[in-house]
Assembly symmetry: C2
Homo-oligomer: 293 residues x 2
C-alpha cells in the first residue's frame, strides 16, 4: 500500500509542479528552469503524502489535498535550495542531481528559492485550491508559522549556531523540532484543517506528527552514519564532520535506534481511535525508520 501511495504522490506532485512552472518564454526562463530542476523529479514527497493521507481520513477531495501538499512541498524545496548554498551547507549534490547553485549559479538559486516560497502562498491563497476563504486563511497561517523564524527558518538558525557551540540533547531536540518537525507537523495539521477538524480535535494527529517528525530526524542522523551516499543522492556524514551534535553523537547509535522505534510506536498509538482508514498514516510512520534514503 505504501509503495503505491509513494509512487502515486511522486507522479502527482511532479505533474502539479510541471503545470505550475511552465516556462514563460522570456528572460525569466532561467529562473523557471532552476525552479523546475529543484522541484520536479526526486524527493520522497513525504510532506504531500502526509497532507493527502491525513485529509483522506476525513474524505477530503484528493485533488484539493494534492494542491495543498504541493504548496508544502514548494516550501520544503525552497528550503533545500537555500540550505545547499555555499554560505550555508555548501552541497554539490541533492536528490542525485547537481544542486541548483551548481547548475544555475548562486544568484539564480537564491531567487529560485524565494520564488518557490512565494509560489507556496500563491497556491494556498487561490480559490482554485479551496473554495472556502476561512480554510485558505487557516492553511496559510499554519504554513507561514511552520516555515518562518518560529519554525523551519528558526531551526536552521539554531543549526548554524550548532557549528559554534555544543548543544545538549534537549537543545538538539528543540532544534530539530523546529528545523524539520515543524513542517512535518504542519503537513498533518493542514490535512486536518482540510477535514474541518477544529484545533481542539487535532491533538492526536498533532501528537502523531510530532513523534514521526522527531523519529524522522533521528533516522536521518542514523542514515548519515550508516547510509549509502549513492542511494541518498547527497553527501553524508557532513554533520559529524562539522562537529555538530546529532542524536547519534549524543545518544550513541544503539540508543538512537531504540528511541526512533519507540517514537514510531508512540506515533501509532496516537492513531488508536482510527480504524483501517489510518493504515496509510501507520505505514508512513513505520517507513520513516525503515527507509534507506
Amino acid at each position: 500500500m505504501l509503495h503505491d501511495a509513494l509512487s502515486q504522490i511522486a507522479a502527482d506532485v511532479d505533474a502539479e509542479f510541471d503545470r505550475l512552472l511552465a516556462l514563460p518564454g522570456d528572460a525569466r526562463d532561467p529562473l523557471y528552469a532552476a525552479m523546475r530542476h529543484a522541484a520536479i523529479g526526486g524527493g520522497k514527497r513525504l510532506r504531500p503524502l502526509l497532507v493527502t493521507a491525513t485529509a483522506a481520513l476525513f474524505h477530503v477531495d484528493r485533488d484539493v489535498a494534492l494542491r495543498v501538499g504541493t504548496a508544502v512541498e514548494a516550501i520544503h524545496v525552497y528550503s533545500l535550495i537555500h540550505d545547499d548554498l555555499p554560505c550555508m551547507d555548501d552541497d554539490d549534490m541533492r536528490r542525485g542531481k547537481p544542486t541548483v547553485h551548481r547548475a544555475f549559479g548562486e544568484a539564480t538559486a537564491v531567487l529560485a528559492g524565494d520564488s518557490l516560497h512565494a509560489l507556496a502562498f500563491e497556491i494556498l491563497a487561490s480559490s482554485r485550491t479551496h473554495t472556502d476563504p476561512f480554510i485558505r486563511s487557516e492553511l496559510i497561517a499554519t504554513l507561514a508559522l511552520a516555515s518562518g523564524p518560529d519554525g523551519m527558518a528558526g531551526g536552521q538558525m539554531m543549526d548554524l549556531e550548532a557549528e559554534k557551540k555544543s548543544f545538549d540533547l534537549p537543545t538538539v531536540t528543540r532544534l530539530q523540532a523546529l528545523k524539520t518537525g515543524a513542517l512535518i507537523a504542519a503537513s498533518v495539521e493542514m490535512g486536518a484543517i482540510l477535514g474541518h477538524i477544529p484545533p481542539e480535535g487535532r491533538a492526536h494527529l498533532k501528537g502523531y506528527a510530532r513523534d514521526i517528525g522527531l523519529a524522522f530526524q533521528i533516522a536521518d542522523d542514523i542514515l548519515d552514519v550508516e547510509g549509502d551516499p549513492e542511494l541518498a543522492g547527497k553527501a553524508l556524514q557532513k554533520d559529524a564532520d562539522a562537529g555538530k551534535g546529532t542524536f547519534v553523537s549524543l545518544m550513541g547509535l544503539d540508543r538512537a535506534k531504540q528511541q526512533a522505534a519507540m517514537l514510531v510506536a508512540q506515533a501509532n498509538e496516537h492513531l488508536a481511535s482510527y480504524g483501517s482508514e489510518a493504515d496509510l498514516l501507520r505505514a508512513i510512520a513505520n517507513y520513516i525508520t525503515e527507509r534507506d534514503r
Copy 2:
C-alpha cells in the same frame, strides 16, 4: 502633509516590527537581531504609506491598514537583504548601515530574508490583522503574486540577465514593472481590497500605481547618476558601471526627467474622480520625482 505622513508611517512601521521581532532569548537571537537590523530604522516606508493612504480613501481603520502595510514592507525588506548578498549585487551599505550579510554573515542574511518573507504571510493570515478571511485571502493572493516569479522575483531574474544581454527600452520597462512596479502596485491594490473595492472598481487606482511605480524607477535611475551616496545611504552608479541598460542610458537624462514628470501627471489624472481625500496620494506621486534619496 506629506512630511508628517512620512514621519508618522516611519514611526508606526518601526513600532510594528519592534513588537513582531522581539528577541526570543534562545539560539535564534542572531536571526531576530539580523531581521531587526534590516527592518527597523530607515527606509522611506513608501509601500506602507501607499497602503494606508489608499485605505484611508475608503475609511479603513488605520491600524488594520498599518499591519497590512507592515506585511508589504516585510517583503520589501527581505528582497533588499537577498539583493544585497555577495552573489547578487554585493552591496556593503544599505539605508546608511552595513548590509545584513556584512553585519551578521551571509548564512544569517539568507535566513533573515526567508524569515521576513514568511512573516509577511503570517501577518496577513492572522485574524488579528483583519477579521474577514475573504479579505485576508485576497490580500495574500495579491502579495504572493506581486512578490513571486511573475512579480518582483521575476524582475530580479531579468535584472541578472541584463548584465549579460543589452535590453531595449520595452524590455527594461517590463523588467522594472516586475522588479519594483509589482510591489508598489500591490500596495495600492491592497489598500483598495481593505476598502472592499471589487476588482472592476480598482482600475483608476491601478493606473495610478502603475504610473508612480514606473516614475519611481526612472527617478531612481536619475538619482543613480545625479544623487549623493551620503544621502542615499548606499552606493550609486552601480547599474551604469555594470553596463546595464537604465532609463537614463536608454533615453538620456533630459528625456528621462520629462518622462518621469509626464508619468506623475498621468498618475494624478487617474485620481481625478477623487476629491481632497486623495491629496496624500497626489503628494506621494509628486514626491516620487522630487525626492533626493
